[in-house]
């Protein structure tokens, strides 16, 4: 190795360190906050590695039965909104791709540009008239604003790249359109569906703005519950940080294990919702 190459190597690793450390340090600090007792969290200079670890913070958060309710709410809202989006969005992406109806993608773009709050005003009134406020239904429906465009957008892109020959062969053999979709197109599209599924789950799980307006005390999702902890219930940092970590942990794990799908999806459409 020449000196020039060695300098290059050092420069590269220094750059990598500079780039990655804000993310690493942040999440380590989050973990540290969540594992410290109040005394350590209120200490100055700050304590990074506490002598006593406060597992209690996590136990407290998990033990409060409200938290379990909110967790179930989040599961129901995200699960339903994602499942519904896949049911209507995957065939739609297929149809749009096969019809080459590229103009219809404009609706998806408008949905992408529109601030989430603009949907909330009319839909809030609608849910009020229908008497649905106080149930999880309004949140499931409005989360479709996030999940449906993601799924349609990704599936259009995916079905445009899948080969037509197999489908044509199946049609010549007498398969109906539905059979072609169900037995030929759909199996090939599994990786695309996985991408759509993962991104829809993440952006629905993370969504905050819809819940803050539509959720009542019993129908909060986790992000709303955590926000309410800041403003009302909790003032001590340990349990707060523990709650924050629990809320975002599923997403962080998904990010690490499904990185390839996430990167593929985000660079294909860059479709953050809401």
């Amino acid at each position: 190795m020449t000196p020039r190459q060695i300098i290059g190597k050092i420069g590269l690793w220094l750059s990598v360190f500079v780039i990655v450390s804000p993310a690493i340090l942040f999440f380590l600090w989050m973990l540290s906050l969540s594992l410290k007792f109040e005394i350590d969290n209120a200490a100055y200079p700050p304590v990074f590695f506490p002598e006593r670890i406060a597992w209690k913070n996590y136990a407290d958060v998990l033990a409060s039965n409200r938290f379990l309710t909110y967790f179930v709410n989040s599961l129901v809202v995200t699960g339903s909104a994602t499942a519904l989006a896949l049911i209507v969005g995957v065939p739609a992406g297929y149809g749009i791709a096969r019809m080459a109806a590229h103009k219809s993608a404009i609706v998806i773009l408008i949905a992408r540009i529109t601030p989430g709050l603009s949907y909330l005003i009319p839909l809030f009134l609608l849910f009020q008239w229908l008497g649905l406020l106080g149930t999880l239904v309004p949140q499931i429906i409005i989360h479709l604003v996030v999940t449906v465009p993601i799924v349609i957008w990704i599936m259009i892109g995916y079905f445009e790249t899948t080969p037509l020959e197999l489908e044509e062969a199946a049609r010549i053999d007498g398969a109906t359109r539905w059979q072609v979709f169900r037995h030929v197109a759909l199996p090939i599209a599994k990786p695309g569906i996985a991408v759509a599924f993962i991104l829809a789950i993440i952006f629905s799980w993370n969504n905050f703005v819809f819940g803050i307006v539509l959720a009542g005390r019993e129908t909060r999702t986790l992000p709303v519950a955590v926000y309410n902890m800041i403003s009302f219930d909790q003032l001590s940092w340990g349990p707060l940080a523990a709650a924050a970590l629990i809320v975002t942990l599923p997403v962080l794990l998904l990010t690490v294990f499904a990185q390839r799908q996430i990167v593929a999806g985000l660079t294909a459409g860059a479709v953050k919702g809401g």
Binding site: L12, I19, V20, A23, F26, W29, M30, L33, A42, Y44, P46, V88, P91, A92, Y94, G95, I96, R98, A101, S104, I110, A111, R112, I113, T114, P115, L117, S118, Y119, I121, P122, I141, I142, L144, V148, R177, W178, N206, F208, V209, I212, P223, V226, Y227, I230, L240, A241, A244, T248, V251, L252, L254, T255, V256, Q259, V263, L266, T267, A270, K272
Partner: protein, 312 residues
């Protein structure tokens, strides 16, 4: 007739085939369910919002048609005008900083080094993490007395800051969070662009003895320009609409120092329940985003023409 078809089965088949071809398969049934959903949750809200914006519409009182007076009210609402200013500053910073840092990060992640895949995964975690959860931890880090940020500043001899607790520093502090969160998206898009660059220009640059900066400035940068533009556009759309981080950390405060259009829209619609006026803000807000996108497209077009002109 039947004898004829029997005697020429091949002809009969070739007759049937074009008939099948003439009727192209309709894919409408695949689209209809999604169309219904999109009509209900995207188109209907939009039409209804425009209608509401023409009415005096407050929760709990009768509605009256008032024409464009909600829009006229916007032009003389100092809080709205102030919010537009905050939004512009916030957006400009939240586009530029991630673009610069994200490009740098992409160039680095384009190199080969041990653990690259894992480190890239760590690097994109801020963007995927739940914004409210992140906002909560940043709020603790911004704490003037106990926050870790002031401690870190003290290590390098910089006096303690008030961060999000002072009107002068609140927007830059929020931009810091936004930049930390969204630089990864720029990185991913630019990284995609770098992967598509051919190697020949680099080889000839090496022969010509160009240094790292020259290579970046005169080869890499022009080639990734289209990707930077897309990243900038997406970043602009997201930064203008930014809500979770601002709302969870400052709720637009202190005072109204970090109140952007989106935060003001929330207050009007769901704190004062002035839905008609809120709808007018939503419509103007949307038009503003379209306008910004159009300006960026126009600037990009101009840039391309200047490049071509200077090249010739």
């Amino acid at each position: 007739m039947s004898a004829l078809t029997q005697s020429t089965p091949a002809a009969a088949r070739s007759d049937a085939a074009p008939e099948k071809e003439l009727r192209p398969p309709s894919y409408w049934p695949f689209v209809v369910p999604a169309l219904v959903v999109v009509l209900a949750i995207i188109i209907f809200p939009w039409v209804f919002t425009i209608w509401m914006s023409l009415n005096e519409w407050k929760v709990g009182s009768p509605t009256t048609f008032v024409g464009i007076s909600n829009y006229l009210r916007l032009t003389s609402d100092p809080r709205f005008i102030e919010a537009v200013g905050h939004t512009m500053v916030y957006t400009a910073l939240s586009v530029l900083l991630p673009l610069v840092l994200g490009t740098f990060a992409a160039v680095v992640f384009h190199q080969k080094f041990a653990g690259r895949g894992f480190l890239r995964g760590v690097f994109i975690m801020p963007m995927m993490a739940t914004p409210v959860a992140i906002a909560l931890v940043w709020t603790m880090m911004f704490h003037p007395q106990l926050g870790v940020l002031n401690y870190l500043l003290s290590l390098v001899g910089i006096p303690a800051q008030l961060w999000v607790f002072h009107p002068a520093t609140v927007i830059p502090s929020l931009v810091l969070v936004e930049t930390w969160q969204w630089t990864p998206l720029v990185m991913l898009i630019v990284l995609g662009g770098l992967a598509a660059i051919p190697t020949e220009p680099y080889e000839s640059a090496q022969i010509d003895g160009a240094n790292l900066w020259q290579v970046f400035r005169f080869i890499t940068l022009p080639l990734i320009m289209p990707f930077l533009f897309i990243a900038g556009m997406i970043r602009m759309i997201d930064a203008v609409k930014s809500f979770d981080i601002i709302f969870a950390i400052t709720q637009g405060g202190p005072g109204s120092a970090s109140e952007t259009i989106n935060i003001y829209l929330y207050s009007v619609a769901f704190t004062y329940y002035d839905l008609g006026y809120g709808s007018a803000i939503a419509v103007v807000f949307f038009l503003l985003i379209i306008l910004l996108a159009a300006v960026m497209l126009y600037a990009r077009q101009r840039m391309v023409w200047t490049e071509i002109a200077s090249g010739a």
